[in-house]
């Protein structure tokens, strides 16, 4: 009875440790990144470009980041009341609120959600990037783009734009403010971030294999009838896999712009997003993403099968060794 209790709770403890590691990484990756302007508001009207407004089905929103309390501690997105801002005669956003320091949200990696924890990006990496703009309807008639950009591909519902003054991390909101045509797009993506996401898939598969292997080894430790001290190799191996998973997790960097808003395991979001991206790229004459994804999936399968074979070999060798003893 005691042995079975210890077995169950050691497995539960392993799962809790694994969940702690995963939750730290998931929280970090899912946190939207924002560009904020910290200003001490003293009572006079502040003016902002209309680009600070975020548009969705419910209308226009103007956000700031404020510290929460209790379970909602940390920097969180808060929306300004509509009465606190308006369009002035210069078509700028005029802000009037209570005098205090505000972190005004200028741009975000994805549509902000009230109450969400955010990370303020202080420095951006200047890169040359290709942006994909997807339209549910037809392309706008006016496709004017700024001088530092050039249209390198287009189809009936998508536009590929090379931007020599792009920045990472990619902010969909900033990309949409490039021009009128860009602002009319339903979605905007960065090809650099798409590549980065696809290249992260094999390490993510390896992490899951490490965690699963550790769990199975711990289970084997308890189910093996031998009383040999060599059984400890199972525990050591399980600990090794857990630590390896932790190290691999620290190396993963998933772009927040491609992740779902609520649940990182929302497969429907990934299928619809990447389906849209791959279809749009194919229509624009670019198939590198499809090839990269195919290559990545092959690598994932290789890692999976390799891990399975190694695991079976390890278990067979260990059991033979323990039985001999």
């Amino acid at each position: 009875m005691k042995r079975s209790v210890l077995c169950i709770f050691s497995l539960v403890l392993y799962l809790l440790l694994a969940c702690t590691m995963l939750s730290a990484k998931i929280e970090e990756e899912m946190m939207p990144q924002v560009e904020a302007k910290t200003l001490k508001y003293k009572g006079t009207t502040l003016s902002f470009s209309p680009d600070v407004l975020f548009h969705d089905e419910q209308g226009d929103h103007f956000y700031h980041a404020a510290n929460g309390s209790g379970w909602e501690s940390g920097l969180r997105i808060r929306e300004f009341m509509p009465a606190q801002y308006y369009y002035d005669i210069f078509e700028q956003i005029a802000f009037t609120g209570t005098p205090q320091t505000y972190h005004f949200i200028m741009s975000a990696s994805r549509q902000p959600v009230e109450g969400e924890k955010v990370h303020i990006v202080e420095e951006f990496e200047a890169v040359e990037d290709v942006h994909l703009y997807c339209y549910s309807g037809a392309l706008p008639e006016d496709l004017w783009m700024p001088q530092h950009t050039s249209i390198i591909g287009q189809s009936s519902h998508a536009l590929l734009v090379r931007n020599t003054r792009a920045q990472l991390p990619f902010f969909q909101h900033t990309a949409k403010t490039l021009s009128i045509a860009a602002s009319q797009a339903d979605h905007a993506y960065s090809l650099t971030e798409i590549s980065s996401f696809i290249q992260s898939l094999p390490p993510v598969t390896l992490i899951w294999i490490c965690l699963l292997a550790g769990f199975l080894l711990l289970l084997l430790f308890w189910t093996h009838r031998s009383a040999s001290p060599g059984k400890l190799t199972y525990i050591i191996a399980a600990a090794f896999f857990l630590i390896s998973a932790a190290i691999l997790l620290s190396r993963i960097d998933l772009p927040a712009s491609l992740l779902p808003t609520e649940n990182i395991f929302d497969l429907a979001h990934y299928i619809s997003t990447f389906g849209l991206i791959l279809h749009a790229l194919e229509q624009c004459g670019e198939n590198f993403a499809a090839l990269a994804l195919q290559h990545s999936i092959h690598q994932c399968l290789l890692v999976g099968v390799g891990g399975l074979l190694l695991g079976v070999t390890f278990i067979m060798l260990t059991r033979r060794f323990l039985c001999r003893r």
Partner: protein, 255 residues
Amino acid sequence: MKKRKASFLISALLITLCVAPFLYIFVHTFFDQGHFTLHGYYQVFLAQTQYLARFWRSLGLCLIIALGQLLVSLLAGYGFAKCTFPGKNTIFFLLMLLMVMPLQVTLVPNYLMLDELRLIGTDHALIWPMVFVPLGTFIMTQAYRSVSNSIVEAALLDGCGTLGVILRIAAPMNKSGLVCTALLSFLDGWNMVEQPIIFLKDFDQYPLSVGLASTPPGEPILQLVCFVLVVLPPVFLFSYFKTELVEGIAMGGEK
């Protein structure tokens, strides 16, 4: 036969009344507004670190409290059981008096003492008062009284010191008492609510027992999943040490 059936039915009813709330909570962690969902488990175990971080923090605190009390009661219990010193019975009586006093009576004196020592707002404010709770000393005193004086005298004659007698003879003979002390002090620490609220200032320092009361009210499913998390260590400890716990409590009751 009829008496057996009646006692079986009554037992079944009592067990159902005890277990039903836990089953209700567990089942409802999988249902949100009538639909099956793992959203609660995802939010608590994967989406955010704060729940698990608070769990590990509480676990660490309680383990330190249990070990500390074990050490104190291991030594103090032997002193009350086997040693003779002036005022022993009076001190033991005061110890028992303190044990039956409600916690709220000692909160203010503890606060004043901790404030003088500048420990308010730190984890030490939770640990030290719990380490010196008299329950463990009482249990170990009762346990050590069952150790025969002749064994102790024989060990002392053979050159064993007092510490050696405690660690090599008295303590191994009273494993159930030790387990009972450790278990009860762990559970005391795990369930403490007033001490963190009064002695700590920052919400982030609160253990899971206090943090549970302020889970977001708009999401009751999160609170239910947190209940499952909170219940894990006590369930494990009771399942593993139930024999020793019952023996330890029975031994204390007999004396």
